[in-house]
């Protein structure tokens, strides 16, 4: 992996992990819109995708594992399911990171579409395995669509905070 610009500021180094925590908390906020609880966008997945493409050095696997476990414990899901999906997503994005680093947003968004589809399907399969019953797939499909639709907003926010705190004019990365 080519060198990414060093970030010496301690607070800035923690930024990706902090955004992951914010994403986990955002997932459980009680928004009073009918049907929202079943269709909550997967904010943590969006954060993992963004940071693994642009600053994988600042989002280590251990932090991801911890945040994933915390999210599972807070949402009441079987412990470890969210952590597993996030870790696998990170591994997948790391593999193909170089195709997305210096590209325009629409390309990055379509990459996320692929990741979201696969990750949500995997999440559904895991829940079916843990519950030993076939769960409804329609809800997962709707939730995937909502997640993909909300991604531009999340990406915008993440990009802005990243740029402000790290002061980088261009997001450097491996060619």
């Amino acid at each position: 992996m080519a060198a990414l610009p060093r970030v010496n500021n301690g607070a800035a180094r923690l930024l990706p992990v902090l955004t992951m925590l914010v994403a986990a908390l955002a997932t459980i906020l009680p928004v009073r819109v009918p049907g929202y609880a079943a269709l909550t966008p997967a904010f943590t997945l969006m954060a993992v995708y963004h940071w693994t493409i642009y600053r994988p050095d600042l989002l280590p696997a251990v932090a991801l594992f911890t945040v994933g476990l915390a999210e599972d414990l807070l949402t009441g899901a079987p412990v470890g399911v969210g952590a597993l999906v996030l870790l696998l997503a990170r591994a997948a994005v790391l593999q193909y990171r170089r195709y997305f680093v210096n590209r325009a947003f629409p390309f990055v968004w379509s990459g996320f579409t692929l990741l979201a589809g696969t990750a949500m399907l995997g999440l559904w399969a895991l829940h079916c395995a843990v519950d030993l019953s076939l769960l409804d797939l329609r809800n997962t499909v709707f939730r995937t669509v909502v997640t993909i639709a909300v991604f531009p907003a999340a990406s915008f926010l993440l990009g802005r905070t990243q740029r402000r705190l790290m002061g980088a004019a261009r997001l450097a990365g491996a060619a």
Binding site: G76, V79, A83, H127, D136
Partner: protein, 297 residues
Amino acid sequence: MIRPSAQFRAAVQRTTPPVLILLSAAIIMLGKADEAMFDSVRTRIADTAAPALDALSWPLGAAGSAVDRVRGVFAMYQDNLRLERENERLLQWQQIALRLTADNRQLRGLLKAVPDGAVSYVTARVIANSGGGYVRTVMINAGNDAGLVRGQAVTTGEGLVGRLTEVGSRAARVLLITDLNSRIPVVVESSHVSAVLAGDNSERPRLVYLGESNAVKIGDRVVTSGEGGVFPPGLPVGMVAALNPAGPRVEPYVELSQLGHVLVVDYGLSTALPQPVTVTPHAVRRGKQVAGDEAGR
């Protein structure tokens, strides 16, 4: 101090993700083998996060009520007409209820019946959902410190919401009646058919183990039966909304996506005076057809 070599550190960094992946899989299987293993961890993390969630969710609740108020202003005229009609109907019901209460007291005296246990309530606010459609729970900002105990029923003024599954010191988790794991013994009021209300993560839970499925009609009121001592009997749950071959679907009285404040029912024997459960316009609106039929008689 021994500094690990760069090679060693690189090796560790390379192997960490696969190790963590295996660790997550192991945790999933552990959680499956022993259901209660992570309960204490879960309650502890809920207690830790509860103050933050409480603060974060408060603006959402305030925004929700502000939106309601604006909507209320626009609907004021229609609401006024509707409320006047409901008020007339409720006054008729009040007369019937007073008469029935008097009869009830007389008959109980004749039978020397044992009085019901006193019921008291703890009010709490919903501070977190469970995001994603696989689990239907909410977190409330009251726990052991407020006297809550696992298994207690949670209601609003309109009907049953669910029951407490994990109770920490500052926060507790409520399993909603729509969750996949929720099973509630109920009875269809008009025909006295007992059944179990089984959630399946959809908006409308099903009635299973129905005694006589022919006796159930659309519009029937479903209340808790109190069987097994799980819930207090007579708590309104919902109305039969559809008759599917897999089982009738019940539309809950409570709007589960709009939960703000809830009441946790303590059906223990306490010396405090029982507090009345207020009937709100919403509950009457949903059961309007049934009420209209009976009051008109």
